[in-house]
Structure formats: structure tokens, C-alpha cells
């Protein structure tokens, strides 16, 4: 959870100062801020559970590509504004379903972070849905760009619902939901929004995988980390 919000939060923050209009610039920066705030909560908890003395900063700035467990979707480059919004919508739709389930976690710390994050993410999803509909059901140009964005990003959604031994163990222990159980809620939301946006969901269910397990990230994550981590790498423990 923390790696997803960290990587997407960084990606979205890349729009700061260069978004198409001021209101969108502020909206994207605020979304990024929420995600980075959630990252701090998740990674601090992860550090506590690990018990090796690593806090959120250590986990964010001193791990390399192979140690990241984020979905491939969130590390994809921003592309144009339409692709950024489509990525946000697809992530938000999954994120909201996942956080709703995590509110019921047997682990108190996880349930508390999920409850806190869910309020922010519900707002993100509302905005992303409105914007996808506005642009999809917009001009010929915006429609074409949103369809292209959907076609490009759709193969990155399947990974959200895959599971490994860790996922299964957590589901059995009541700590986290079985990833596959989130699919119906996700599909329902996506179908409803795409219908209103006059966009067509790709028929292929081919899914890129490897981000969540850390086995094979796309080449983009390394470049992102280079920018995000260089200061802590060059000047470890720097403060100001």
C-alpha cells in the first residue's frame, strides 16, 4: 500500500507547476500530498512491524527497484493530462475498494490508516470519475486521447487482483482482503464511468505483472527513484 501511494504520489507531483490550468495544478498537487501523507503512515507501520529500526524515510529513500512492491500501473509515466487522469481513475477505483475492505482488518493499525485514507481517496475517485467522463464525453480530440489512455493502461489493471502466498496468508488471517474479491466492485465502477464517458473497455484481459511481487518492474521505476532518492543517496541523513 505504501509503495503504491509513494510511487503514484511522486508521479502526480511531477505535474506541480506545469499542469494545463492553475486549478488542475492545485488539484494534482493536493492529490499527490494526500498520497505522500498516506505513504508516511503505511511505511512507518511497515517499519514498526519489521522491527529493524527503519522508518518511512528509510524505506522510501534507501530501497532499490527490486525491493519495491508497487503495481506497475503507478510507475507508468504521466504522458499527457488525459493519461494521468485515466491512471488516477483506474488506481482510485481499486484503491477505494481495497481501503474499504482494509477498514475491516483484524490489524488495528491497518484498519486505522485505511479509515483515514478512505476519506481522502473517496474524494480522489469522485474527481477522477468526473474528469474521465468530462474528457471522454468531450471533444473529438479529448475523446480520442482518453480512449488511447484507456487502451494503453488497461493491461496494467489485472495485476491488482492477482495474489501470492503472502496475500493468501493475510487473507486467511483476516488482515487484508483476497485481492480477487475486489474485482466486482472495481469492474462495476469502471464500467459505469466508461459508459458515461462514451469510452470502450478493451476486450483483452492480458495483464502485465511483476510490480507487486517486485520480480520485474518496468524500466520507468528506476528513473523515478533516481530523481526521488538522489539527495538521500548523495547526502545520507541530510537535514535542513
Amino acid at each position: 500500500m505504501g509503495d503504491n501511494t509513494l510511487v503514484l504520489g511522486h508521479r502526480v507531483s511531477e505535474w506541480c507547476g506545469v499542469a494545463p490550468v492553475l486549478e488542475e495544478d492545485i488539484a494534482l498537487a493536493n492529490t499527490a500530498l494526500d498520497l505522500i501523507g498516506q505513504t508516511t503512515l503505511w511505511l512507518n507501520l511497515a517499519g514498526e512491524v519489521e522491527g529493524a529500526g527503519r522508518d518511512a524515510d528509510a524505506l522510501a529513500f534507501r530501497r532499490d527497484v527490486k525491493d519495491f512492491r508497487n503495481l506497475l500501473l503507478v510507475e507508468q509515466p504521466n504522458g499527457d493530462f488525459g493519461r494521468t487522469i485515466m491512471r488516477q481513475f483506474l488506481f482510485d477505483a481499486w484503491h477505494q475498494a481495497c481501503l474499504s475492505a482494509l477498514c475491516e482488518s483484524e490489524h488495528e493499525g491497518i484498519a486505522a490508516i485505511a479509515e483515514k485514507s478512505l476519506k481522502e481517496v473517496t474524494y480522489h475517485l469522485e474527481r477522477a470519475s468526473d474528469t474521465v467522463i468530462g474528457l471522454g464525453d468531450g471533444s473529438d480530440e479529448s475523446h480520442a486521447r482518453m480512449q488511447a489512455a484507456l487502451d494503453r493502461l488497461w493491461p496494467y489493471t489485472g495485476e491488482m487482483f492477482t495474489s501470492d502466498d503472502v496475500d493468501q496468508a493475510m487473507a486467511s488471517a483476516g488482515i487484508a482482503p483476497d485481492p480477487a474479491s475486489l474485482r466486482p466492485v472495481f469492474d462495476e465502477r469502471v464500467t459505469a464511468v466508461m459508459t458515461r464517458a462514451t469510452l470502450t473497455l478493451p476486450e483483452s484481459d492480458f495483464a502485465h505483472k511483476g510490480g507487486k511481487t517486485g520480480k520485474r518492474h518496468s524500466e520507468h521505476l528506476g528513473h523515478l527513484l533516481t530523481q526521488m532518492q538522489w539527495l538521500q543517496r548523495a547526502y545520507p541523513d541530510a537535514t535542513w
Binding site: E23, A112, I113
Partner: protein
């Protein structure tokens, strides 16, 4: 040096004088982030619930609480962050809501949008953006007086 432990009511009064760093007309108590004040033996414990998880003001809020209480002579102090139940705008006091409107920020409404323009009180309003100058606000405009204004989002 404090000779005897101040009552929690007194501590609340001190905290009522600490303004929110972003919206200084609102005290931390009126913002609803102070969830409890308790004495644990000789240590004063303040339970704080952050508004938005990424809000940069959160750190300053903790610093301001600490400074204010140290200034009153409290030496043993512990600030505890409590995430659940998550902060809600329903915790903003009635007084706080009036202060917000007087300051030009429309207070949160369960309906999801401002009730009226904080300047001219017209109800003829439009939303400019779901986000505003801080994570807790959105941008709206009054169609009557044409003034843009901040709306405190209802969460």
C-alpha cells in the same frame, strides 16, 4: 515551574488560544483535532487527530501545542497521534464555523457544497475546483457578487 498540576479544563483553555497555522481564526480546539487531554501520572498527554494525512500543517500543529504548553510551565508532555476515528469536519465547533465564515471561508456542509457566499450570503454559487489552497479546501465562486472564495470541504 508549575507547583500543582493544572486541571484539564485549564489546559483546554490554553489550547483554545493556539491558532491553526493555516487558518489562524480557528483555534486547534475549534478545529477538532484535540481529541483528549489527560494526566498520566505526572505526564500530560494530549491526543491529537490529524486532519489530512499529508497536511503540512500537522507537524506545525504539534510544535505549536508543545510550545504553548511548555510556555505554561508544563515539563512532562506527551503528544499522541490517534488516527481512528478519523478526523471529520463534524468536529469543527459551532463557534469555529462562525469564525470561518467571518474570515471568508464557507464552513463545511453535509450536502457537500457551501450553503451561501461568505461575502454577500447569496446562494447562487458555482464550483471552480474540487481542490483549493490547502488540502481541506475547495474553490467556489459566487454568481451574485462574482467573488471567488474558499469552501472548507466536508469530510
Amino acid at each position: 515551574m508549575v507547583v500543582e498540576k493544572p486541571s484539564t479544563e485549564t489546559v483546554y483553555d490554553w489550547l483554545r488560544a493556539v491558532p491553526d497555522p493555516e487558518i489562524p481564526v480557528l483555534s486547534l480546539v475549534d478545529l477538532g483535532v484535540i481529541r483528549d487531554v489527560v494526566w498520566q501520572g505526572e505526564t500530560l498527554e494530549i491526543i491529537v487527530t490529524p486532519t489530512y494525512s499529508g497536511c503540512p500543517a500537522t507537524r506545525i500543529i504539534n510544535l505549536d501545542i508543545e510550545t504553548a504548553l511548555r510556555d505554561q510551565g508544563i515539563e512532562k508532555l506527551h503528544l499522541k497521534t490517534q488516527l481512528s476515528p478519523a478526523w471529520t469536519t463534524a468536529w469543527i465547533t459551532e463557534y469555529g464555523r462562525r469564525q470561518l465564515e467571518d474570515y471568508g471561508i464557507a464552513p463545511p456542509q453535509p450536502a457537500g457544497g457551501p450553503a451561501r457566499c461568505p461575502q454577500c450570503h447569496s446562494e447562487n454559487l458555482e464550483r471552480i475546483s474540487q481542490f483549493g489552497s490547502t488540502p481541506c479546501k475547495a474553490q467556489w465562486r459566487c454568481r451574485a457578487c462574482l467573488e471567488p472564495f474558499d469552501y472548507f470541504k466536508c469530510i
